[in-house]
Symmetry: C2
Subunit: 344 residues, 2 copies
DNA sequence: TGTTAGCACTCTAGCACGTCGAGTGCTAAC
DNA sequence: GTTAGCACTCGACGTGCTAGAGTGCTAACA
């Protein structure tokens, strides 16, 4: 789609204005407010063309124009300005880094809060995906005569624990010996890498522990199957209420519902990602609940291994430029901190 | 305040009707709908008296009556029926018990979900308060050359972990010895009981470990000061949107805001509790945000030691009877499960 | 003395109607 | 290609009216 320079400017004006006001905008207003040096009639003609191209629409005859979904898509793909973060925004990100960098869970909560605060949209952040982080230490802790806790520390210094019921729990000393063995053979590996051959080998090498190694390794591997151990944090859900597009309470309700359900959040985060930062506008989204929203999403990674996701949900009338730059800033922060954590 | 039998019935009819419909109710409607065998004129006279007593009010002349805050208080104190749980409700509670009883965190999440689901109000649930639970096992886990994790298992089988930076982290073997010592001397004690004399005694007894015991004990005791380790779960926030009294979005926004802030939640849960189940109606509440709501709150306990709280937030027009009975049912469940956990 | 029918009165919700203003498309002139 | 002018459209908003639900008061009744 080729737009003239003037059409570009007009489309930009419409989108920028609508992002701010959520009101349809007319030719006269554009002429006055954006001082383009052409008359409203000319703008009208251009707008008519833009409408033919499907980039803007009229809610009803004789109202102003509103960007269409296609219009947003065009804007995002080929005209969106890169906005630099303001100094205040950078400061907030800075502070986020400085506090609580020793615990991934805290950092992820802070990340969500910062994202929501800086953008006024709703943030969803997932912890690093357990499957893809490396095991650093395995420790068994006795609880009672039939239960032990299996505690694993990962290279991102996240702690996972899982209770484990045995017919008879071993002595503390024996648990320590087992912990030692497991740590020695599993550290540096991701859970994904703990496969059948490795398990078999361990069971053979330590045959006299087999009866107890078996359930333990089972639990560790079981963590692959269920994603229950990846925590997902949200922040700024209430921001949704501030947008006129959600003044219909039922729409807001549906989203709040989704934000409370872990499965829904995970399916939001797990949507296909082709770009570095993926922008999904309105009903481009395969999820029914988000048809009225836009989603901006990114995966963060360590060592080029994608390990978790962060996302923003807002109205299709989103300030894409700003949201993307904040997301990018935060992305860098997370990766920086995670790297620091896993190295030292 | 002494009401005649008839006044009782009329007040009850008004309150029950208003709880269901959220509409002011008039004398004629009462006469028709609740078949009291008296005419609307008589009911009008009685209503006028009830209004003089301050139990009901008129939103405007020539509208029906609405229960006042005082009316709800009177109802709750002296006329509220005890409702038995339906078999479906009991079933939900039953299922809650059966699943995931081995991890307190899961149970608390489930509790919040069940509360919100059964009442359609908003639930707030706190984990058992760390200070008051007993330590069962202490384990140090090496992370890197300067960091160790301090992991504590409590008698409710909850796991707490805290990172700890040292100038130089000891060897694994030594950490195990230390873990052993700490477990031996601290297990069975609540964090509250770890006081100066106990610490001093440990430092003297194990003088050669003093340099490392010091920071560790510091961290453990530090947990007393900050309440950061008590998780608070909410569920059913979106239920708020279903009530016409929150169709003014700003009111809803304020509550959502509070529900996202841990501090706000804790101050809600920490409000004075005189009864077994505390009902705080409208602006009886000292917290500004809850002036338009009612709060039903209870503390759960093990061994008569109150260890955590559960609460429900809804409009002042709440189905108090039902909410109280659900809360009571859940309270019993929690205590039952916690007891089982700490014993076995 | 308590209860009730009847009536005048009040107030809101909802609808019809007219007006205003923002916006459009089209045409003719520049 | 651009613009001024004009007729037209449609929603927002204010006004006035009506219906209906509800009240309080009074007088009559058991």
């Amino acid at each position: 789609m080729a737009l003239s320079d003037r059409q570009h400017k007009i489309l930009e004006a419409i989108i920028n204005d609508y992002i701010q006001t959520a009101e349809p905008i007319g030719s006269r207003t554009i002429a006055k407010k954006y001082a383009m040096g052409i008359s409203s009639a000319t703008i009208r003609n251009e707008m008519s063309d833009l409408e033919d191209m499907g980039l803007i629409t009229q809610p009803h005859t004789s109202s102003g124009r509103v960007p269409s979904q296609k219009g947003y898509r065009f804007y995002v793909d080929s005209m969106m300005p890169k906005k630099a973060l303001t100094s205040e925004e950078s400061l907030v990100l800075q502070q986020m880094i400085l506090s609580n960098i020793y615990q991934v869970e805290h950092m992820m909560k802070k990340t969500a809060t910062a994202l929501a605060r800086l953008t006024r949209y709703t943030a969803i952040v997932s912890e690093p995906y357990l499957k893809k982080t490396k095991i650093k230490h395995v420790q068994m802790i006795p609880v009672d005569d039939k239960t032990i806790f299996l505690v694993m520390v990962t290279d991102t210094k996240s702690v996972k624990n899982q209770p484990l019921s045995l017919s008879a729990a071993p002595e503390y000393e024996e648990l320590n010996r087992l912990s030692n063995i497991l740590t020695k053979h599993l550290s540096g590996k991701t859970i994904q890498e703990i496969d059948r051959p490795l398990i078999d080998q361990l069971l053979i090498s330590f045959a006299h522990y087999a009866h107890i190694l078996m359930p333990i390794l089972g639990v560790i591997v079981g963590l692959i199957q269920d994603e229950d151990d990846m925590r997902v944090f949200t922040s700024g859900a209430k921001n949704i209420l501030a947008f006129p597009e959600f003044s219909d309470i039922r729409k807001a309700e549906a989203i709040f519902q989704a934000l409370e359900e872990r499965d829904a959040l995970i399916s939001i985060l797990n949507q296909p990602q082709t770009d570095n930062i993926q922008i999904i506008i309105g009903n481009e989204n395969s999820l029914e609940i988000l048809k009225d929203c836009s989603l901006i999403k990114a995966n963060y990674s360590i060592d080029n291994q994608s390990t978790g996701s962060i996302a923003l949900i807002g109205p299709t009338r989103m300030d894409y430029g700003h949201a993307v730059s904040v997301l990018q800033g935060i992305l860098q922060n997370i990766q920086h901190v995670l790297k620091a954590l896993s190295e030292g």
